[in-house]
């Protein structure tokens, strides 16, 4: 029984020029205590799909499809009901720790508010719980730090405050939108370690949005690769790195400079990311794909079981044996 079942999620934005279809039908099941990585480049729709589930789209955004949590569809849920769930059973860590905290309020006020609203705690009890949580995310001198304002903390510490805030109500699902992108590698290592431990201790399911394949390798069991608002490949992290099957995934892996391999020349993916106001016809990756055929221009391939394996989904017309990108990888 999955914790969260997302099917056919679509997000569109009305803009003066056109309707921008940012997300075109993504589906996934999230099991209790598991970790799903959503990987993609800027504009691939990875953040918008999560914001849509929590009712946080911009005013001109519309979401359709379904995201079933405990028998209820999160999309189109009345605000009052949604407020009972988000920040409580489902919580989110935002990308930018500098701008996601309220600069006018102390850390204490921002954290205790969560517990007062969701758990009916008194201010005093809420503060005690908040300090415990700050200690759990290893903020030194938590009892002193809690009375400070966000600008008095470093970037890594602000991100830890955000994580502590998201975990206050011991959520079942934690959505982390690029939680370490704004941080230095040594701080990133601390935060990732923290997420790993918290998942172990609380059994939280994590949806991790990132563009960093290294972070995915360390934290995720399953990975969904998105491009141009569509899912290109959805499989286990082991398969993704060992046997990528989609030309875009292969391209991404070959474009990545790596510490663990010799300095083979990088292979960039030619062209530029699609403009989602005027998306290419057919498969969104077709313009940049070295394996594209006429069929790819005419219609977008469906996300289907790959090689008869229903846990390995792929949206591509090309059989793997015939893929040029695949052969070049084999020779590399």
């Amino acid at each position: 029984m999955s914790l969260l079942k997302v099917s056919g999620l679509e997000v569109a934005f009305d803009t003066p020029d056109a309707v921008v279809r940012a997300v075109n039908g993504i589906s996934f099941d999230l099991e209790e205590g598991s970790t799903l990585g959503i990987v993609g480049e800027s504009g691939s729709g990875k953040s918008q799909s999560v914001l849509a589930m929590l009712g946080l789209l911009a005013p001109n955004g519309r979401a359709s499809g379904s995201a079933i949590y405990q028998g209820n569809n999160l999309l189109g849920m009345p605000r009052r009901a949604l407020n009972k769930v988000r920040g409580n059973r489902l919580s989110m860590i935002f990308q930018d720790p500098m701008t996601s905290l309220n600069p006018y309020l102390t850390i204490e006020r921002q954290m205790t508010e969560v517990l007062e609203v969701h758990k009916n705690m008194t201010r005093r009890a809420a503060k005690k719980r908040s300090i415990e949580m700050l200690e759990a995310v290893r903020i030194p001198e938590a009892a002193h730090r809690i009375d400070q304002y966000p600008h008095e903390l470093s970037g890594g510490m602000r991100q830890r405050v955000m994580i502590a805030m998201a975990l206050l109500c011991e959520p079942q699902v934690l959505f982390a939108d690029e939680p370490t992108t704004a941080l230095d590698v040594t701080v990133q290592a601390q935060i990732l370690q923290l997420l790993r431990n918290l998942q172990h201790d609380f059994g939280t399911a994590i949806v991790l949005i990132t563009h960093d394949l290294g972070v995915v390798a360390g934290l995720c069991e399953r990975v969904m690769v998105m491009y141009g608002g569509r899912v290109m490949e959805h499989c286990s992290a082991d398969d993704l790195f060992a046997r990528p099957s989609h030309p875009y995934t292969i391209g991404l892996l070959r474009a990545l400079p790596r510490l663990d391999q010799s300095d083979a020349p990088l292979v960039g993916i030619p062209g530029n990311p699609p403009n989602m106001a005027r998306p290419p016809s057919g498969c969104p990756f077709q313009e940049r794909c070295i394996d594209a055929t006429q069929r790819c221009v005419e219609s977008a391939p469906a996300l289907e079981a790959f090689a008869g394996d229903t846990t390995w989904l792929r949206a591509c017309y090309r059989p793997v044996e015939q893929m040029k990108s695949m052969h070049e990888v084999a020779h590399a």
Binding site: V187, Q193, V216
Partner: protein, 327 residues
């Protein structure tokens, strides 16, 4: 061709006066030591990578090399000429040979100029003898070189994607045929697939034009890819300066080791089992840096003497130097 040293930086320091903590007018102002005694040589055609976390002084260093932020102490020797105390006019001549590429591709292009005007601007400044048609010619040639279509010459920066904007920035830097380009995080704002395009472009242009590069980045994997030598900075000091192969295969400084172990590797088998050396706490403030070795407060192998003695950057082997008492 004998390898000729084109740039020599000796004990350069950039200190900033910052406001005193107390608001009283007689309280002493404090000093922020952004760069504190950095020395290195750069050979023609060589790439020096500079890595470090935010606040380590790598960007300030790059600006000090071009005198965009004047150094408070130290020498910059360009092609055998000492530039300390050089006049604005002398610097103007030097900047034809040393160009810069900036981090934010869009913000570093003037929104009210067309691509053609942007790329021609250094020519108007440094090669005023060129005729309009000659300029136009070399702008078009440069656009072709960096992979921009000629028809784009009359467009404005906002019409381009991040990767294309960075190509414009590269064209602008290369059009005056410099000998050295200082690249300050040139690919950090780009997606992986585009980042690879730009890294490859820089590499091939470097070979074609015999350029030297100072490549500043926080991504150790990108730096590994492009550099010949790598300099690791922490709190304004050089921790290690070594050949790329030695630095990545056998890091000598505990800070380099910690940095390298923190980089996530896209391989689940390695990444799930590896032991990351987690550094305690945050980077200390450069206004009040630790005594002795600046890294000793976070160093996993620090000894009592590390808080007293300042380690020199010592040569440990051919092409390997680290500033650690215990290396």
């Amino acid at each position: 061709m004998p390898e000729q040293t084109i740039l020599s930086v000796r004990d350069i320091k950039v200190h900033f006066r910052v406001k005193a903590k107390s608001k009283l007018p007689w309280s002493p102002s404090r000093t922020l030591k952004a760069v504190d005694g950095v020395s290195f040589d750069l050979k023609a055609g060589e790439t020096l990578g500079v890595v470090g976390e935010s606040g380590c002084g790598k960007s300030t260093l790059s600006r000090a090399i071009l005198n965009l932020i004047p150094a408070t102490h130290g020498e910059i020797v360009w092609m055998g000429k000492d530039l300390s105390g050089a006049t604005t006019k002398q610097w103007h001549g030097v900047r034809r040979d040393i160009q810069m590429i900036f981090q934010d591709p869009l913000a570093s292009l003037d929104p009210r100029m067309t691509v053609g005007q942007i790329i021609a601007e250094p020519l108007r400044e440094h090669r005023p003898e060129m005729s309009k048609s000659e300029m136009n010619e070399s702008v078009r040639a440069m656009m072709a070189k960096v992979g921009l279509r000629e028809q784009m010459i009359n467009r404005y920066a906002h019409e381009f994607s991040g990767g294309q904007c960075q190509r414009i920035g590269i064209a602008r830097a290369l059009v005056v045929e410099p000998k050295l380009i200082v690249c300050d995080e040139p690919v950090s704002a780009l997606d992986v697939s585009i980042q690879a395009q730009i890294v490859n472009l820089l590499k091939s242009l470097q070979q074609e034009m015999g350029l030297a590069l100072i490549f500043i980045a926080h991504d150790l994997a990108v730096v590994k890819h492009i550099s010949d030598r790598v300099m690791v900075m922490y709190l304004g000091h050089v921790m290690e300066l070594s050949d790329k192969h030695s630095l990545y295969a056998e890091p000598r400084h505990p800070y380099t080791r910690a940095l390298l172990s923190a980089v996530p590797v896209p391989n689940p088998a390695i990444e799930r089992t590896k032991v990351v050396q987690i550094l305690s706490s945050d980077i200390p403030s450069p206004i009040n840096p630790p005594s002795g070795c600046v890294f000793h407060t976070r160093c996993p192998i620090a000894e009592p003497r590390c808080s007293r003695e300042v380690p020199e950057l010592r040569t440990l082997a051919a092409g390997v130097a680290a500033a650690c008492l215990l290396a």
